[in-house]
């Protein structure tokens, strides 16, 4: 038996937690429990992002999703969780249809995940270590990018790798791409294929949406004061 790959171990841990609590969101009938399960599932997903080397996205997932969006959702739960709305049962026919739908989707998506051989990281950890130790120049020549090859073999041999994605991501949002200074597509200006316009659009979009949401969600009591008791139906 090979040594335990701790990267794989933590991946399996976070993946099991994320998937189990996502299924728990579906199966739970109590809306408050659903919100709690969703928090755990999204937090475990941010752990998966950390393991994939996307540290900034993982931190954003924790801060915006778990810290912002879910607090909003829980406020929605608390403002509407009253009596019969806390636990609403679904009929049996709906569950049969849902099982059919989920089975079809799983039969379509799960084989697709294993369809492309390049998506599987099939190196054996011991083999990679041996190859890198014995013939470093051959290992370098075999891989297109030296730095990423080193990083990949480091993951395969269970060595810690430090990633710094915050600065390239911030530069990419402002326009210059410091990570692709030599793009494959010759029509792109080198290093200038950033996301400044989508960034501006999404900034204005978020501002307008939040102002609109605050306008929509404000309390209107006029109907009550005019005609009390008409809304008891």
């Amino acid at each position: 038996m090979d040594a335990i790959n701790w990267h794989t171990f933590f991946f399996l841990l976070f993946a099991l937690v994320a998937c189990a609590f996502a299924v728990g969101v579906v199966l739970a009938t109590n809306i408050v429990r659903m919100a709690l399960y969703l928090i755990v599932s999204l937090g475990a997903t941010s752990g998966l992002f950390f393991l994939a080397g996307a540290d900034f996205v993982a931190a954003m997932q924790l801060m915006i999703y778990v810290g912002g969006t879910l607090v909003l959702l829980i406020f929605g739960v608390m403002l509407t969780a009253k009596g019969p709305f806390i636990s609403m049962k679904t009929g049996g026919g709906d569950w049969i249809l849902a099982c059919l739908l989920s089975g079809c989707l799983a039969a379509f998506l799960l084989p697709a995940a294993f369809a492309v051989p390049g998506w599987r990281n099939v190196r054996h950890a011991a083999d990679t270590a041996a190859v890198n130790a014995a013939q470093p120049e051959i290992a370098e020549a075999a891989d297109a990018s030296n730095a990423t090859a080193e990083a990949n073999s480091a993951v395969a041999t269970n060595a810690p790798v430090q990633t710094r994605t915050a600065t390239p991501l911030g530069m990419g949002l402002l326009g210059p791409r410091v990570d692709t200074l030599d793009p494959d597509d010759a029509s792109l200006v080198a290093g200038m294929s950033g996301y400044l316009l989508p960034f501006e659009i999404i900034s204005m979009h978020l501002l307008v949406v939040l102002v609109g949401a605050a306008y929509l969600a404000r309390t209107k009591r006029r109907a009550d004061s005019r005609n009390p008791g008409a809304r008891n139906a």
Partner: protein, 114 residues
């Protein structure tokens, strides 16, 4: 334990993303509570994010140079921000609906006359 000693690939992440996506779709389909439907949407968006991050990572595949690079992480950041915006508006609509109709059951929202 072959599963524990092998390095993780993109396929593993795609399986997690698929399970999150399927859970979200089923949650959107079967929940009668409008907030529950919103939680299903969050799960679907999160499953898409898992796929984007997996394809952008350099550590998960043996054929380097075919990964999305930072584009995938940038798009997943956009998805996170859009999910926040969508949750804000959808919750405002749900609260408005609750104020007007005194229920949060989406099955009884078949006449949206304002």
């Amino acid at each position: 334990m072959d599963l524990l000693s092998q390095p993780v690939g993109v396929s593993h992440y795609l399986v997690v993303g698929a399970i999150l996506f399927i859970s979200g779709v089923v949650c959107m389909a079967v929940k009668r509570n409008a907030i529950g439907v919103l939680m299903g949407i969050e799960l679907v968006l999160n499953g898409a994010n898992v796929n984007f991050v997996a394809f952008s990572s350099n550590f998960l595949r043996s054929d380097q140079g075919h990964s999305l690079g930072l584009d995938g992480q940038l798009i997943s950041l956009f998805v996170i921000v859009l999910a926040a915006a969508e949750a804000a508006v959808a919750l405002a609509i749900a609260l408005n609906y609750y104020n007007n109709h005194s229920t949060i059951d989406v099955d009884r929202a078949d006449e949206l006359k304002g």
